[in-house]
Symmetry: C2
Subunit: 374 residues, 2 copies
């Protein structure tokens, strides 16, 4: 059996640190009550992982190392992230502080294709740190960018990268920009004997990125830039695997996205990007979201907003069927109540589910009869 | 001219709140010293945006609304995120608290394709909140999942979604799972006259996701689930635009990724996913990363780690050429020193760049002659 070893830190000022670590393990593995998982011999043996160690760092903070079952051969890069820090990322006090992938990881994630040696080779393998400049501000036309490129190249810089705000903007279209800047660095390299490498920024839809990568490589660029957190980390991997024969510079933009508040991310952005329903951790469940936060998420999903269709709020995350009445009152009619493990935990799932759906039906009738707003 | 109106909150216990807001505006627009941007009439007029308002919320906190130039027609969904919260996400104290896209946004982001009305229709438009269950834990085989599915369906649930940990695992392969669960809900729907909708989880590489979406829709699923933050928010958009004729449930997994520490995200994960060089905010620049953090990022990128090639650390973010000596000493040989606006700010970019590259060369020589470790 193989494991991701994931190290988390979390706040635990009082109470049982081991119990908290075990809850986190459950969250990142079977995501059901323990009793549900234990019913299935295969799951019990192969999917529950273990708490490797728990250390109290100070009065507030605990560090725990969890072994999370993961076999690379039968999984994807996206699933690696999911198991590593999917739900646990939603606990406001849980930080991922280290990771050690399983031995089989190479089957799906192979690391840099070129790395330090390959990038060094591009610029003639000088025995020193390398240098890099940037083309910006965005809004310059191709001639202006090429002029700056020339300045940098003539200044004996090794790498010249696009600003990450440079896209396929009509003001400096990707293809024209690449041609112009490559011509500059090729000219300077030829004249001086010093290699100068221009690095265009790939961005846009998956199709656009693919076509940009193809074009740039046909033109002979030495490397490209990409923003993995903006486009999705698995896209970086797909790009490396399928499109690129040159090294890639990763830009950290959006990498701290970190503090997008849930009503914005799960309410507005998910909707704006096309979600018809948005699942979020409900108040009073396993996560720390407040009633106010949840009401704001639901509000943003449903409120009139431009000409966008409203989307369903789907409160979830440790909800129980017992809370049907309360939640119907709280969220109102246009809601999908998602109950996961609590339904499965009962002896008869079917019966428990019936009770739940009945309660929702009744609570809705009651609410409709007592409230004009429902 | 069109703008994204972005509202941020940041810590500003003392000092000039307006100046801080203006710095943030610069970061999210031209990302150069003001003096550089002002040189170009087009940039000055069209790309610099404005601070709409600044309010002090309390002694610690300021809220600012920035107008960020953005024309949807000439941009992508990824670029929308980039302008909205690209670099500013990397300031540990800056939160994005609201967003209002420009009128033209519809050209690239159209919101839900089906929304509440479409999802309601799927289950017969009942006049009440809808209900949803989940198939888990992962590790169950197809028969076991289908059995739970039947339990839930018989319990009169409206929607039954895959757990987000269910992928194309050999234990319950996507295609077999979809067929089996669809057969269950179709059977129950036919027998009871109640619509029950099964929602499979799409995940994996872009190709796998596309092929899963195609298969699931051919089989007749009513909706699908997707984790936008795991796969990249722009992927959600691409999926909606090109692959899906059914509603999509967005799962928040990885949406708080929030507190992945920079040495893990920018050092280990970017490398693991294939970055040959990783740009990160250097200490003493515009961002709050410490020396320790930067050393750890660089360390993780370069350290022997399994059989992965090492990757280049690229410290950046408000660095100046003047710091060449210090930074060469600090980061050592296998480093790409990225200097952006500070090179462009000088009267002669070429000269300034020459000075910079010279200094690096000399500092490297000096370091090599004085330190065995270099």
């Amino acid at each position: 059996m193989e494991f991701i070893d994931a190290t988390y830190e979390f706040k635990c000022p009082e109470g049982d640190a081991l119990a908290r670590a075990e809850a986190l393990l459950l969250e990142q593995t079977v995501e059901t009550p323990r009793s549900v998982a234990l019913r299935y011999p295969y799951v019990r043996e192969h999917r529950m992982g273990e708490v490797r160690r728990v250390d109290r760092l100070d009065e507030q903070t605990v560090r725990a190392v969890l072994a999370l079952p993961f076999t690379a051969e039968s999984n994807s890069p996206a699933q690696f992230l999911n198991v590593l820090y999917g739900n646990s990322s939603l606990h406001p006090d849980v930080s991922l502080v280290d990771v050690e992938p399983p031995p089989s990881i190479r089957a799906i994630l192979a690391g840099p294709s070129f790395g330090i040696a390959g990038l060094r080779r591009l610029v003639g393998d000088p025995d020193r740190p390398l240098t890099c400049g940037a083309l910006k501000p965005n809004g310059l036309d191709v001639d202006e960018l090429a002029a700056i490129c020339r300045e940098l190249a003539e200044g004996a810089i090794d790498f010249i990268k696009d600003d990450h705000y440079l896209t396929d903007d009509p003001r400096a279209p990707f293809r024209e920009r690449v041609r112009a800047c490559l011509a500059v660095v090729d000219d300077v390299s030829a004249r001086t004997g010093r290699a100068v490498v221009y690095i265009p920024n790939l961005s846009g839809s998956p199709d656009e990125i693919r076509s940009q990568a193809e074009f740039a490589q046909q033109c002979g660029v030495g490397a490209v830039m990409f923003t993995p957190m903006l486009h999705g980390l698995p896209q970086l991997r797909a790009l490396c695997e399928r499109e690129l024969d040159v090294p890639v510079f990763a830009h950290p933009s959006f990498g701290g996205s970190v503090s997008i508040r849930p009503p914005v991310l799960l309410g507005k952005l998910f909707r704006l990007f096309g979600a018809d329903a948005s699942i979020f951790p409900n108040y009073g469940g396993r996560f720390g979201y407040s009633e106010q936060t949840c009401a704001a998420i639901a509000g943003n999903l449903r409120a009139p907003w431009r000409d966008l269709a409203p989307a369903f709020p789907v409160p979830a995350g440790g909800m129980s069927a017992d809370r049907a009445d309360e939640l119907v009152q709280f969220f109102g009619r246009d809601t999908i109540l998602l109950v996961g493990g609590s339904l499965l935990a009962s002896e008869s799932v079917r019966e428990r589910t019936k009770q739940f759906t009945e309660r929702v039906r009744k609570a809705a009738e009651l609410a409709a009869s007592t409230s004009l707003k429902f």
